[in-house]
Structure formats: C-alpha cells, structure tokens
Symmetry: C2
Subunit: 207 residues, 2 copies
DNA sequence: AGACTAAGACTGACCGGTCTGTTTCGGCCA
DNA sequence: TGGCCGAAACAGACCGGTCAGTCTTAGTCT
C-alpha cells in the first residue's frame, strides 16, 4: 500500500530532476511566467499554487501577500533581465562603440525568445492605477531603480566610447530601446528593430 | 406623503444640467476615464454604472458585453487622440519640417494634461494575455489600425518635407514618440521629452 | 517528536451577466 | 389642456464563479 502510494506519487508528480526546487522557488518561477504572460490581475493565487504544486500556507508563510510576491517576481525578473542584457552587450567586443550598437541584437535575441511578453515593468505600470495618487509607490521605486541601473551601465559604455555627454547619450540610447520594446509589445513585429537600428545609428552619430 | 417622496427624489437625483447626455454616452465616457486610469480588469461593471448613473439593462442592451464596451471605448479614445494630435501638428506651421518637429510639443501638451494615463492601446495590450495565442485578435487589429493611421499621417508630412524615404522616416519618428510615451508612462517624468527631442533631431537630420 | 508541507474547506467580497419590477418621459389623441 | 400609452431607463435582487486570504487537518520528512 505504502509502496503503491509512493509509486503513484512518483508517477504523477513532475520529477524530472532528482530533487525538486524548494516550494517558494517553484512559486516564484510559476508566478513569474504567469504574471508576465497573462498579467498580474488576471492571474489568481490558486492558479499559481496549482501549477507550482504548492499550498496557500506555503505562499502566505513565505511571502505574506500576493503583492509581496509580485514585488519578489519583479525584482528577480529585472535582475535577470539586466544580467543577460549586460552580458550580451559586453560580449559584443572590446570597442565600446560596438557595445552600444550591440543593444539592438541584444533586444533581438530577447524578442525572438520563446517567452517574450514585453517589459515586466511596463506591463505592471500599465495595469496598475495611474491616478493622481501616482499608482503604487513601491512599483514606481522599483522601476526607477531598474531604469537607473541600465542608464548607469550604458553611461559607462558611452563614456568609454568617448562621447562628450555620456549620461545624456545613455538616456538617448535607452529611449530608443524603450520605443522598440513598447512597439514590439504592441505589434509583435520584430521588424521594429530595423527601424530602431536606424534611430540608434542616427543618435550615436549625432552625439 | 407623495409630496415628501417627490421632494426627496428631486433632492437626491443628480440633475444639475437641464438635459443629460444619453445613457450610453455617459457610460462610454465614464468607462473611458476608469479603464484608462485604473485599468480594464480593475474596473468593474458596477462601478462604471454607478458613476454613470445608468443601469445594467442599459449597458447590456446597448453594448452586449464588457468586452464590446472596451472596444467602443478604445475606438473613441484612439480617434480623439489622433484628432487632437494631428491638429496640434498641422497647426505648427506651413513648413512640413516644422510639423515633424512639432510632434514633441504635441506630446508635451498631452503629457501635461490633467488626465494622462499613458497610451490606451499600450495599456490594453499590457494587461491582456500575451501568450502564443497572441492575445485578443480584435485588440491587435485595432492597435494596428491606430498605428497605421498615425504612420500614414507622418508619412505625408515626411514626403512634403522632401525626405527620400518618407515611409521609413515616419516609422522612425513614431518609434521616437513610442519611446517617449512608454518612458513617460513608466516614470511620470516629463523630462523624457527633452531626450526625445534630441533623438528626433538626430533622426530627422540623418534622414 | 517536531518542523514543514500539501490539501482544501471556508469567509466575505467582488466579478460579469441575467432577470424582474418600477419609474420616467415624450408623443399622441381627444 | 389633460389623460394616456409605450419605449426607454432606472433600481436592484440574483446567479455561478473567482478573488485574496485564513485556518484546520493530515501526511511526510528528518
């Protein structure tokens, strides 16, 4: 009986790896996928827990609330995005000018990935209240930090490339990327990157 | 008794203007404000109807569903946005080159308006499912039409301004604007327009 | 034995949508 | 001018379902 139950569990439970990730880890990963793909409001707690094979006790014991889980997910999403993005760009070569140009292929590899659901921060901002209260303050703050980290990275590249106003150049480059991301999210057409590449070249030359 | 009740009704009923707009009109206007400000998912039918002073029968008799109301609201929002945007730009002067430059002040007057909640189409796209199914097809289509109308307008301006590739120039200009809109929505800082203005100048010169 | 976890019943609120009445109001006829 | 009628709109009860969040129970590990 016990053996049968164990066998049943092993057959039904998803267990490709010898050891499953801890529950809160599974919750975060599933929540990340669902929040990004279907939206935060549209994703219920129960769905996350079912797909993660976790219980409400675990969720509320570890995170305390859905909003806290959202914060955790956004923090991880932002950190991983920056990690891969920066890595792709620095790998473009030793010449900083090449690195700034490499932002476009970096976006391309993101856009063409299996799971492109747009910028998580843009999506979160879009589906939260935007009234005079300014929406959730923590979201504003997290977004600002994400933004600042990218600007800082681009600024070092611009400075190394010899631009007179590296900070302004970084902001200009990021604005080009923001446009491409927004357009891609709305249209789903990777062709916007060709237009973005032209804009980027114009901006880099004029700087 | 009957008089007291009548007096009560007259005092409680909101009737400041001699003639109110028809119910479906009030519903659309209230829904537009709430959908744009708080998001579509976050705005319930009951709230719209309460603020509009309308009943569910009216809503479902006129529109049929919440989704149909969303479509109606997005169509109106897009049409009015284009109307005011195009008017601001054509009013910039007889020189088409000035008109293309005037897109930035046009955005500024939008951003600084009392009710800026970001681009309604970006917001709608962000809070709808983005899975492999591609989200709601009608939303994709409406967005594409809105996009195409703006591109067509900018293309005539670019052509009149003598650019060799007016269509590409229109797409480039719109991408600059998209970036500014997305950045403004996320950060709430009107300063992005200064960066966008630089980008636009670079793009127009390089064209 | 004790900590952790899954499972899930449960609460109160809200969701979109349907349905039944009641009120209001403008046109019409005498 | 006054009474009447029918369409439109209002009000709100009601439905099944889902929401976020709490709590109890039972099982599974070390």
């Amino acid at each position: 009986m016990a053996d049968a139950l164990t066998a049943l569990n092993e057959s039904t439970t998803v267990m490709p790896s010898p050891r499953r990730a801890p529950p809160h880890e599974r919750i975060i990963e599933v929540a990340r996928e669902l929040f990004c793909r279907d939206g935060i409001h549209a994703t219920g707690i129960d769905r996350i827990l079912t797909e993660a094979g976790a219980s409400k006790m675990t969720l509320y014991g570890r995170f305390g609330s859905k909003e806290a889980l959202v914060r955790e997910v956004l923090a991880r999403e932002g950190a991983e995005w920056r990690e891969t993005f920066f890595a792709l760009i620095t790998a473009a070569g030793p010449d900083p000018a090449d690195c700034l140009q490499a932002t476009i292929p970096a976006l391309r590899s993101w856009f063409e990935g299996a799971r492109f659901y747009g910028c998580a921060f843009m999506n979160a901002a879009a589906e939260h209240a935007k009234g005079s209260s300014g929406g959730e303050p923590w979201l504003r703050e997290m977004t600002a930090q994400h933004h600042a980290a990218i600007i800082a990275f681009l600024e070092t590249q611009a400075q190394a490339a010899g631009y007179a106003e590296p900070r302004m150049m970084a902001r200009q480059v990021l604005l080009v990327l923001d446009g491409a991301i927004a357009a891609m999210m709305v249209s789903g057409d990777v062709g916007v990157l060709d237009v973005a590449a032209r804009n980027l070249r114009a901006v880099l030359r004029a700087g």
